[in-house]
């Protein structure tokens, strides 16, 4: 528990550094977790070399989903899209530094699913994207 609600997670939840929207942007995508209604939108700016130059997330949800979104956005700025495409579940768990049960894992992975669906230009943020 103390693990699950590590200070860093509460901190990113209450005071996110990357919450907001980017206008203009090169990529924008939003989706929800149908189980709990958590919702995340991610905007990206990408330069001509395909590197993420700026990004923001917006939406609502539990501490796990929002903190993981903030940590994820922080970590991808400066990364090439090709690298973003390869990010998976383990990457998020490492960012959060905690273990999660199957239900909460869905909360944690929502932002990565949205990000990858946006980068790949898909219509839906599916589970397969992060496996």
């Amino acid at each position: 528990m103390d693990d699950l609600y590590r200070e860093v997670i509460i901190e990113h939840y209450k005071n996110p550094s990357y919450r907001g929207k980017l206008d203009p942007h090169d990529i924008s995508f939003a989706d929800s977790n149908p189980l709990c209604g958590d919702h995340i939108q991610i905007d990206l700016r990408v330069d001509t070399n395909g590197v993420v130059t700026d990004s923001r997330f917006d939406g609502h949800g539990c501490a796990i989903s929002q903190a993981s979104a903030d940590l994820l956005i922080e970590s991808i700025i400066g990364k090439p899209l090709e690298e973003v495409k390869r990010l998976n579940k383990d990457y998020i768990l490492e960012l959060l530094g905690i273990d999660l049960g199957p239900v909460r894992l869905k909360c944690a992975l929502l932002s990565l699913k949205v990000l990858k669906a946006g980068v790949y230009g898909l219509g839906e943020a599916s589970d397969q994207l992060v496996e």
């Binding site: 528990m1 209604g37 909360c107």
Partner: protein, 408 residues
């Protein structure tokens, strides 16, 4: 007879377990599914140990025993809801399937494009989606009785909807989120005056209230065993015999037929007409045993006990700064307390409470439109049943203070 809570808790083996070493279970999620008393577990166990056989048509002893147990459970259930006959009780998998049965048979035989079906804004998805599917297929129209800020159905709004001559009114007897107990008899009477057929979603009322089909005069009443001390996988649809007789069958197969030729069949009589294939026999027997258990305690006693717990819970929860409760006051609702906690997502609330063994539910509780109406994505929901105590409410309250501490 008043309820002796200590004795009742002993009837439910699971309530004695620890969720983790040294942490006792505080189960406040009975609205999702209730726990099961030993009598129900044993009844199903006994069936498998002593009487397991397929029902109907078998001539051997076990088949006869199994059939008798299965059908006597139906008699008990019919008596429990005061149906005029056991023929009016159709076994289904659950409330959802009961509602779908009506949507697939009665509605497809009777509703055509443009016909109006009245639902309410506080419905569970199980009483929305089957009608939305029919709307897509048939072009029926749907409209919804509005819910007031207090969490009650707006009956004036209902009356004005009735002037549009609906063919069907389908509503929940008790909201699984707000806890609101709707004035079912009045809603049904008004519906009948407008010549509508009326279906009641009884998933939350059958476990908690005395329900009487003769007094209610519902045309259909759908409920599930697992929310009323019985097993999962079994529920029932009550329907007035004349209506059920007039309806086409639901699923086709064994047991629902009188006679089959290569190119035709004749449907069986009630209730078997709607029960194709080998049913959930052990579960039906467990359902009967659950009804015995509730009957023995007395539904009025159960409702009274739950009312006391709910009143106490609402009072205590209201004292917590940042807690916002949804739904009406205790005198207008059953044992449900859905709430939000300022700045803290319900998932986080439920997760932290779980650490103390407190089981509550977080989410939209299969009533997404209702949450949208109140402008919230989700709530935490504590719900109470015959085995819950005021001490458990205190544990919940202390747990919520702990949540606030972590998010301080």
């Amino acid at each position: 007879m008043k309820i002796n809570i200590t004795d009742i808790r002993k009837d439910f083996p699971i309530l004695g377990r620890e969720v983790r070493p040294g942490v006792r279970l505080t189960y406040l999620d009975s609205t999702a599914t209730s726990q099961k008393p030993l009598a129900v577990i044993e009844a199903m166990n006994d069936y498998y140990r002593h009487s397991n056989a397929n029902i109907h048509r078998g001539v051997h002893t076990l088949a006869e025993e199994a059939t008798a147990l299965y059908e006597s459970a139906r008699e008990k259930i019919a008596k429990f809801i005061n149906a005029s006959s056991a023929r009016e009780v159709i076994y289904t998998r659950n409330t959802t399937e009961s509602i779908n049965l009506v949507a697939y048979t009665w509605a497809r035989a009777n509703l055509k494009q443009g016909d109006l079906v009245i639902l309410t804004e506080m419905e569970h998805h199980s009483n929305l989606v089957p009608w939305q599917m029919l709307q897509a297929e048939r072009g029926i129209e749907l409209d919804f009785i509005t819910v007031t800020e207090e969490g009650l159905l707006d009956l004036e709004n209902y009356k004005s909807l009735l002037s549009r001559r609906p063919k069907l009114v389908s509503f929940t007897h008790m909201s699984n989120v707000l806890g609101t107990i709707n004035p079912a008899a009045e809603i049904i009477r008004l519906g009948h005056e407008a010549n509508a057929i009326v279906l009641v979603d009884g998933a939350q009322s059958a476990p908690h209230l005395k329900v009487d089909m003769q007094a209610l005069d519902a045309d259909f009443y759908a409920f599930s065993a697992h929310k009323m001390c019985g097993p999962t996988g079994i529920g029932a649809l009550y329907g007035k015999a004349a209506l059920l007789e007039s309806m086409p069958p639901f699923l086709g197969g064994g047991d629902m037929i009188k006679e089959v030729k290569l190119r035709s069949f004749r449907a069986n009589s009630l209730p078997h007409k709607f029960e194709a294939g080998t049913p959930a026999i052990a579960e039906a027997i467990g359902f009967g045993s659950a009804v015995d258990y509730l009957t023995k305690l007395g539904m009025d006693n159960i409702a009274e006990h739950e009312h006391q717990i709910t009143e106490y819970a609402l009072e205590r929860l209201e004292e917590i700064p940042g807690v916002k409760l949804f739904g009406p006051s205790a005198d207008k609702k059953g044992g449900v307390a859905a709430f939000t906690l300022d700045g803290i997502h319900p998932h986080d609330v439920a997760q932290i409470l779980d650490q103390d063994g407190i089981a509550v539910r977080a989410g939209h509780h299969c009533a997404q439109p209702l949450h949208e109406k109140f402008g919230i994505p989700a709530t935490s929901r504590a719900s109470f049943y015959l085995y819950n105590t005021k001490e458990e409410v205190d544990l919940l309250v202390n747990g919520i203070y702990k949540v606030k501490e972590i998010f301080k």
